[in-house]
C-alpha cells in the first residue's frame, strides 16, 4: 500500500531522505558557524560621541560617550544645569558613560576600551566626532582615514571642532530636556536649519571635501560654555544693542541648560584647521553655499540708531554661481535671492509700506551683499581656503581632470574676483501692517 502511494508522489522516498540529510547537515553547519557575526544588542555598547585630543603618553587621546542600559538614567530633569558634576570616577553622567583612553590609533583605542570595559564598543551609531581645536590645527588627516575605511563608523556622524579639550566638551554633552541622549544630539543638529549659526557637517561631506580639488572642508565649531560670561549688572549701566555676534563658542553670555555651544564654523585648509567663522559669517557662508534655510537677523535701524528691527530671513532658492577665467583671473559671480519677513520694528517706522519698502530692500540687499563679500574676503585673505566650493564651478572651465588638477584651484582661490549680487524681497510683516506710535506724555 505504502509502496504504491510513494510511487504516486513526485519524489521517491530515498531522494527525500538524502535531501533531508543534506539539509540537516547544511543547517547544522550554518548554525554552528553562522553565529560568527551574531552579536546581541546588549553585548555591545554604542558610542554616540567620539572625541579626539592630543595625547600625552601616546599619540592621541580618544573619548567615547556611550549610553548606559540602566533604567531611567540618572539625573532626571537637569533643570538648573551647571552643577559642575563632571562625572564620578566611572565617568558616569546622565544615562551615559564617558570614557577616555590614550592610544596610538582610534581603532586601537576601541580595542583597549573593549578589554577594560566589559562590553564591545561599537561605532555603528556614532553621531558626533569631536576634535579639539589644538589637535585640528595640527591636521586631522591621519586619523580621519581609518574612520572612513572602518566599516563600523557611520558616514552620517557630524564633525565638530571644539575649543578646549574634546574630553571636556563630551563631558558636558548631557541630555538636559530628557534622558534620551541620542535624540538630544540629533535634534541639536537640526538647529542649524533654524538658526544658521553653524553648518551641519556630515562626516562623509567632511571627508569628501578633504580629498576634494574643488574646495576645502569645514566643521562645526563648538565650545563649552562655563556660564561665566554673564557679568553682574551694575546700576546705571545700559548696554546698546549689539547686532553683530562676533562671539566664539563657549563665550556666549548665557546661563542654564546645556553647556555645549555649537556656534560658528571651523575652517580647514586640507586637513588642518586654519581659523573659524563667527556665527554671523557662518550665516553668510551658508547662504552662499545654498544650505541656509532660515534665521532671524537683528539689524540696527539705519534711520534710528539705538533701535533695532528683526527679520526672519528665508532662502528662496539655491544661489546661482557662475565662474569663468578671464585673463588668467578667475571671476565668480554669485547671485542669490532672499525673502525677509518683518518680525519686529522697534522704531515703529513702517518699512513695510510701499513708499518705504524699496529703499528698505535696497538697504538690506547691500547689507547682505557686504556681509557675504566680507566673509568671502576673509576666507580669501585670512585663510586662503575655498570653503565655498567655488571650484565646482571653476572646474567647468577645464576640459580634463589633469588640467584642472594642474591648475590647482585651491591655490588660485585667493586671487579670484568675486561678485556678489543679492536680491531681497520683504514679503510680509507679521500680524501688523502699519504700526501706530506710542502715546505718552513725552510726545515727540
Amino acid at each position: 500500500m505504502a509502496k504504491t502511494k510513494m510511487q504516486n508522489l513526485k519524489m521517491p522516498v530515498k531522494e527525500i531522505k538524502v535531501l533531508a540529510y543534506v539539509l540537516l547537515l547544511v543547517f547544522l553547519a550554518l548554525f554552528l558557524a553562522g553565529c560568527y557575526d551574531a552579536k546581541e544588542i546588549d553585548q555591545e555598547v554604542y558610542a554616540l560621541v567620539i572625541g579626539v585630543d592630543k595625547g600625552v603618553n601616546n599619540a592621541i587621546r580618544i573619548t567615547f560617550q556611550v549610553p548606559t542600559y540602566k533604567d531611567g538614567g540618572q539625573g532626571g530633569m537637569g533643570g538648573g544645569g551647571g552643577d559642575g558634576d563632571n562625572g564620578t570616577e566611572t565617568g558616569e553622567l546622565d544615562g551615559t558613560v564617558v570614557a577616555t583612553v590614550e592610544a596610538p590609533s582610534l581603532i586601537e583605542a576601541i580595542n583597549i576600551l573593549n578589554a577594560t570595559s566589559n562590553r564591545m564598543i561599537s561605532l555603528s551609531h556614532a553621531k558626533m566626532l569631536v576634535f579639539s581645536e589644538e589637535y585640528a590645527r595640527e591636521g586631522v588627516g591621519r586619523y580621519i582615514e581609518p574612520l572612513a575605511r572602518f566599516r563600523e563608523v557611520r558616514e552620517l556622524m557630524r564633525v565638530v571642532v571644539c575649543r578646549g579639550k574634546a574630553e571636556d566638551f563630551i563631558k558636558e554633552n548631557k541630555p538636559v530636556i530628557s534622558q534620551n541622549i541620542a535624540k538630544d544630539i540629533e535634534l541639536s543638529y537640526l538647529q542649524s536649519q533654524n538658526t544658521g549659526y553653524f553648518r551641519d557637517v556630515f562626516f562623509t561631506e567632511f571627508y569628501i571635501d578633504l580629498l576634494s580639488p574643488y574646495g576645502q572642508p569645514t566643521a562645526i565649531y563648538a565650545g563649552v560654555n562655563e556660564f561665566d560670561q554673564m557679568l553682574d549688572s551694575e546700576p546705571g549701566l545700559s548696554a546698546p544693542p549689539k547686532t553683530y555676534l562676533d562671539i566664539k563658542p563657549g563665550l556666549i553670555p548665557r546661563k542654564g541648560g546645556n553647556k555645549k555651544d555649537l556656534f560658528g564654523t571651523a575652517v580647514f585648509d586640507g586637513d588642518r584647521m586654519v581659523g573659524s567663522l563667527n556665527p554671523e559669517e557662518t550665516r553668510f557662508f551658508l547662504m552662499s553655499i545654498g544650505e541656509f534655510e532660515r534665521s532671524y537677523f537683528t539689524l540696527e535701524d539705519q534711520n534710528k540708531p539705538g533701535y533695532i528691527y528683526v527679520l526672519e530671513v528665508t532662502a528662496v532658492s539655491k544661489p546661482r554661481i557662475k565662474a569663468r577665467i578671464a585673463d588668467g583671473v578667475p571671476v565668480i559671480d554669485l547671485s542669490l535671492e532672499l525673502d525677509a519677513d518683518l518680525a519686529s520694528i522697534q522704531s515703529r517706522i513702517n518699512y513695510e509700506k510701499s513708499d518705504l519698502i524699496e529703499g528698505f530692500e535696497a538697504y538690506l540687499e547691500s547689507y547682505f551683499q557686504k556681509g557675504i563679500k566680507n566673509t568671502i574676503e576673509k576666507t580669501q585673505k585670512e585663510f586662503g581656503t575655498d570653503i565655498f566650493q567655488f571650484g565646482k564651478k571653476i572646474a567647468g572651465n577645464f576640459r580634463t581632470i589633469q588640467e584642472f588638477e594642474e591648475y590647482n584651484w585651491l591655490k588660485h582661490y585667493p586671487e579670484a574676483e568675486i561678485n556678489v549680487n543679492v536680491k531681497v524681497n520683504v514679503r510680509r510683516s507679521g500680524y501688523f501692517y502699519e504700526t501706530h506710535h506710542i502715546f505718552s506724555t513725552k510726545l515727540e
Binding site: 500500500m1 509502496k3 504504491t4 502511494k5 510511487q7 504516486n8 508522489l9 513526485k10 519524489m11 521517491p12 530515498k14 531522494e15 527525500i16 538524502v18 540529510y21 543547517f27 550554518l30 548554525f31 553562522g34 553565529c35 557575526d37 551574531a38 552579536k39 546581541e40 544588542i41 546588549d42 555591545e44 554604542y46 554616540l48 549610553p67 542600559y69 540602566k70 533604567d71 561599537s122 555603528s124 551609531h125 553621531k127 563600523e152 557611520r154 534620551n180 541620542a182 535624540k183 540629533e186
Partner: protein
Amino acid sequence: MKKEQSIFAKALNLITYKKTSRPETFVLPETDEKGNMSQNSNSQDKGKGGQDSKTLTQNQDKQNLSGKAGNGADEQRVTGVGLQKRRIPKKPLSPSQVKAAKAAADSEKTDEVKSDYDSNLEAIKQTFHLPENKDLIIREFKIGKKRKAFLCYLDGMADKNIINEYVLSPLLNMPGSVLPEGKSSALDLENIIETNDVKKLKSINKVTAEILKGNTALYVDGLDYILTCESIGFEKRGVETPKSEAIVKGPQEGFSENLRTNISLLRRIIRNKDLVTEFFEIGEQSSTTVAVVYLQNILNPAILNEVRRRLQSIKTDFLLSVGMLEELIEDNPYSIVPTILTTERPDRAAANIMEGRVAIIVDGSPIALIVPVTINALMHSSEDAGLKWYYTTGLRFIRFVAFATAVLLPGFYLALTTFNHEMIPTDLLIAIAKAKENVPFPTIVEVLLMELGFELIREAGVRIPGIIGNTLGIIGALILGEAAVSANIVSPVLIIIVAATGLSNFAIPNYSLAFGVRVLRFYFILAGAFLGFYGLALAAVLLVLMLVNLKSFGIPFLSIVAPRSKKGKDIVIRWPLWLQESRPDFLNPQDRQRQPEITRQWAQEDPNKQVPAPSDSKE
C-alpha cells in the same frame, strides 16, 4: 544493490545521482493569445477538447437517464468494479488490490442475479454478512398474496416512510387478479412502484452499491433483475453559516456534509444548463462519491481532462475527507503553500466555477476544492466582490502586509538584533538594549520561546471546549506575555513582535495558507538567526524559486507574476466590476469574455427613457 556493501559504498550511494523516473508534469497547452473571444481560439485543443466535451455530454445524458445517484460508469459494462481495477499494467499489485481481485473472482459466480428467489435472497444475505449484521432489514412478503418478493434496505440510511407508502403499500395493495400468471412472467414493476427513481439491475454488486447508498432493493420471484427504488433518507446537518469564512455582506450559507445538498446549493447560484456534475467513486472500501462541478461551456477541456485523470487514477482504500483528496491530487504534495483552494462557501465556489475553474466536492465534507488556482486566490475573500472596489483593494493590501508580517517579522527582528544593529534607530536600539539587559537568553531563544508558546496557545485553544477555548487563548497569550516580561524571560519588544505576527497570521483569509505561513515563519527565523539579512535574502530566493516552480493543475502557481499572463482586473487591486471584462487569462477558458465592454448600459442611455416593468404578460 547488492546485499554486501561497505559503509563507504553506502555513503557514496547517498550522494551519487540515481536515475529516477519522474511523472511528466502536466502543463496547460498554450493557446493563441490573440484569439480570446471565441471558442475557436484554441485550435490545438479543439480536436481533443471538443471530443472530450462531446463524450462528456453523452455521458451526462446517459447518466441523467439512468438515474440520479448513479456514478459515471456505463450500465453496459457490467464487469465488476474490482475487475476493472485489476487491469493495471506492470505495477505490482498492492495488497488491497489483490484482495479486491480475489473478492471479485469469488463473486464472479454469484454476481449475476438469478431468477430464483432463494438464491438471490441468499446472495444478498451473504453479501451483507447476515445474520451477524443487524443493519440490513429484509422484508419478505407476497404480492397479491401470490408471488414471493422481498425488499431490503439499510436501517438508518433509508427513509422508512418512503418505503412504506410508495414501495410497500402499492405492492401489498395490488389485487392478486392483476398479477399475470406464471412464476417467471414479466411484471411491470416500474409502473407500480411510486418512487421517482427506479433502476433495473442485474448485478448483485451494483445492487449492493445502491443499498449502501440508502436505496431499497426489491426482488420479485421469477424476475432476472433486482429493482432498486430511491429511498435515501438519513440524518444530516442542515445548511448552516460557514464557520471559518464568515463574512458580513453576502450570503450566509455554507456547504454541508451532504453532497446532493451541496450541489443543489451551487445550482441555485448558477442556474445554467451547462453546469455539469460528474461523479467519481474513490476509495475501494469506502466508495466515497466525489463530485466534479464545472461549467461546460467555459472550462478549458484540458483542465477538466486533467482533473478526471487524477481523480480516476487514485487508488486508495478509504477517502475520509476533502483534505485527504486534496493531498492526493495536489501537483506537488511537498509544497509549503497549498495549491488548491478550499472553501466552505457555495457562493465562492460558484464564482470560481464561473471563472472557468473546477469545484471538487467530496461526499461527507462541507468543503469544496477549487482547482486550478494561483497565489492571489488564496488572498481573496468571498466578500471582496461585494464591497466597493477600493475598500476591497485596501483590505487586500492589508492582507498582503499581514502575509509579509506573519512570514518575515520575527526573522527580520532577529536579523536586525543579532547582526545588523546599525540599522535600528539609535533611540530604539538603546530602548531594546535596556529592556533586554536583564533577560538571560539570546534573542533567538526568546523568539523561539515566544513563537512556540504562541503556537501552543493556539493548539490548546482548539482543544479546549466551546467558547472558553477562544477566550482562554487570548487571555492566556496576554497573561503569559505579561508574566514573561515581568519575569525577565523575554523582552517586551518581542511580545509586540510575536503578537503582531500572530495577529497577522489570522488576517490571512485562507486556512491552509495560514498553516503554510506558520511553517515559513520558522524557516525565516532560522535563516535570520544563522546569517542575518544575508540569510533572509538567500531564504527569500529559495522560497520564490519554490513558488515559481509550483503548478496547480498545470497552471503555474505564480501566473500573476511569472510567467506573465495577460493582466487580470482582480488580482491584487480589485478593479470596479464593470471593468472586469475577461476571465483569468492563464486558465485559457473557452469563453474569455465575461461581459461586454459596456456593462452599465444605462449610463449611455437616455436618462428619461421609460422602461416598463419586466413582466411575463408581454403581448
